[in-house]
């Protein structure tokens, strides 16, 4: 018992590191841990090691919005949150933006845990029925998204260009290909445009209260929990694509969208445990590691993991708000231009380390592609074509 609690605690500490530093993904740590598992298993059993991984992965989904929103350096899961979050930061409402993602994360965590038995049932019955249709569903969402744009031709062009980029990058053999691609498309491109416009970060308001409409909040949490879990059933579809799907069903602007983005990654993480339990499939790196360690998951272990997720998530709320307040305070002391340059240099150092020199080429091309949407007033969701087009083609071809 003490071992398990210690594993949860250490997982939380590790999750703080992976969440706050851009580019360090849970999957990377899980893969390293797995390669060292022979050593660790000399001291602890497989369940304790799995608890550590799950605790780390869940807390990561809370904290990763901080570098996304404050620095514009996103992970896959929170890439779609960069723009609205960063916009709020430039209005002095960065803390509020983070808080909204925390509400989403915690709300959808509770949603998935409470509905876990229903999800187990849904997954085993609905998944086989939906599987042949998922390509068409995604395609219709993309068409709908493009028809809503004012400049439809341009939007379609950007979607296809990003899609071609995604397909090419996935075939390049680059390690962790999504890191340079998404950092370029959603992070670096935002930084360069802000630098050119000479924007400044105003003093950040840290308010304890947050005016929210109850109905809209519950709707956002519900959509996040439902769509986040649903995409967990299918290969290749993750929180980033889910954000595009979910945003088509939401009204009410930035606030609800941020709740959605926060919620999707957490819901998806917890739902991937359900996928593992019911379908014996691993949909993300953390669960791959757990699956390799455990081989089979028993009901008791599944329930234990849900409890671990709940503990880690509760700690996530406190820790994310704590770091968000701290960083908001520090951000006011630095010039925005310097901050942007710091992040650009950080990404330029991390990309060759994580993805090699070819990764730098991917970063440059992705940054250029990412700049097209804001410069032409087309929705940035179109750039998600990089992840959506390969999946649509795979399901349809």
């Amino acid at each position: 018992m003490i071992e398990i609690l210690l594993a949860v605690l250490l997982g939380i500490l590790a999750g703080i590191i992976t969440g706050l530093i851009p580019g360090i993904h849970v999957n990377l740590v899980s893969a390293i841990l797995l390669s060292l598992s022979g050593f660790f298993l000399g001291f602890v059993d497989v369940v304790t090691l799995s608890v550590f991984i799950i605790s780390m992965a869940v807390i990561h989904t809370f904290l990763d919005t901080i570098p996304s929103i404050y620095l514009g350096a996103p992970d896959t899961e929170s890439a779609m949150g960069v723009l609205p979050g960063h916009r709020m930061l430039l209005q002095g409402r960065g803390y509020e933006a983070i808080k909204l993602t925390v509400i989403g994360s915690y709300g959808s965590l509770l949603f998935v845990i409470v509905l876990a038995p229903v999800l187990v049932f849904l997954m085993s019955t609905v998944q086989p029925i939906l599987q042949p249709w998922i390509g068409w569903i995604l395609l219709s969402i993309v068409v709908w998204m493009t028809l809503k744009e004012k400049k439809r031709m341009l939007a379609a062009f950007l979607f296809l260009l990003s899609g071609a980029l995604g397909l090419t990058v996935l075939n390049l053999g680059v390690k962790q290909p999504l890191f340079p691609m998404l950092s370029g498309l959603f992070g670096l491109s935002t930084m360069l445009i802000s630098l050119n416009e000479k924007v400044n970060i105003p003093p950040q308001k840290i308010r304890a209260g947050l005016p929210l409409q109850k109905r809209q909040m519950f709707a956002s949490v519900g959509v996040a929990g439902f769509v986040g879990s649903l995409v967990g059933f299918f290969p290749g579809v993750g929180p980033a694509q889910a954000a595009v799907i979910g945003s088509q069903f939401l009204r009410g602007g930035n606030k609800n969208f941020l709740i959605l983005v926060g919620g999707l990654s957490t819901a998806n993480m917890v739902a991937s445990m359900v996928t593992f339990y019911t379908l014996d499939k691993a949909r993300n790196g953390a669960i791959v590691a757990v699956r390799v360690l455990l081989e089979e998951i028993a009901l008791g272990q599944f329930v234990l993991f849900l409890i671990v997720a709940l503990i880690a998530g509760s700690a996530g709320v406190v820790l994310t708000l704590f770091f968000a307040r701290r960083f908001a305070f520090w951000l006011q002391k630095v010039k925005y231009a310097w901050l942007c340059l710091f992040v650009i240099v950080l990404i330029l150092v991390l990309v060759p380390v994580i993805s090699g020199w070819l990764g730098v080429a991917v970063l440059v091309v992705s940054t250029a592609t990412g700049m097209i949407a804001p410069l032409t007033n087309v929705s940035r969701s179109q750039a998600m074509g990089c992840l959506l087009l390969p999946v649509i083609l795979w399901f349809l071809l």
């Binding site: 993904h25 999957n27 990377l28 899980s30 893969a31 797995l34 896959t76 260009l161 071609a164 980029l165 397909l167 090419t168 990058v169 996935l170 075939n171 390049l172 053999g173 962790q176 290909p177 999504l178 491109s189 445009i193 050119n196 416009e197 000479k198 290969p235 290749g236 579809v237 993750g238 691993a282 949909r283 993300n284 790196g285 791959v288 590691a289 390799v292 070819l358 080429a361 991917v362 440059v364 091309v365 250029a368 592609t369 700049m371 097209i372 410069l375 032409t376 992840l387 390969p390 999946v391 083609l393 795979w394 071809l397």
Partner: protein, 118 residues
Amino acid sequence: MVMHDKTMLRLALLTSIVGVAMLFAYSEKFVVNEQTISRLDELPEGQEVDVTGVVLRVTDLDTVLFMEIAEEKVERVTVVLFKDRNVTVSEGDFVRVVGSLEEYEGKPEILANRLELK
């Protein structure tokens, strides 16, 4: 220096289109298969693979079976299967292998946990 939005857009479009074309030319293959898709889930090495192909060579030891199989694109890969019961595979058989992708002496290798004769 402030760059005009139009200049920036032209530069971005040019870099993007030329860049995608160059990366495309550089990529050795251009396919959408299960492995491409699993990269979207950012699965680390040791990821699950599922390949189907013709058996080119079999080395059957007591407890372990090594195979060379050619996939439909005629790409060779070594498959290792630790046997828990008697398994017979002959060259020329068409098999489906589900397992994890590992690296052995710098070369990719599939550690099979399921083998189906087609």
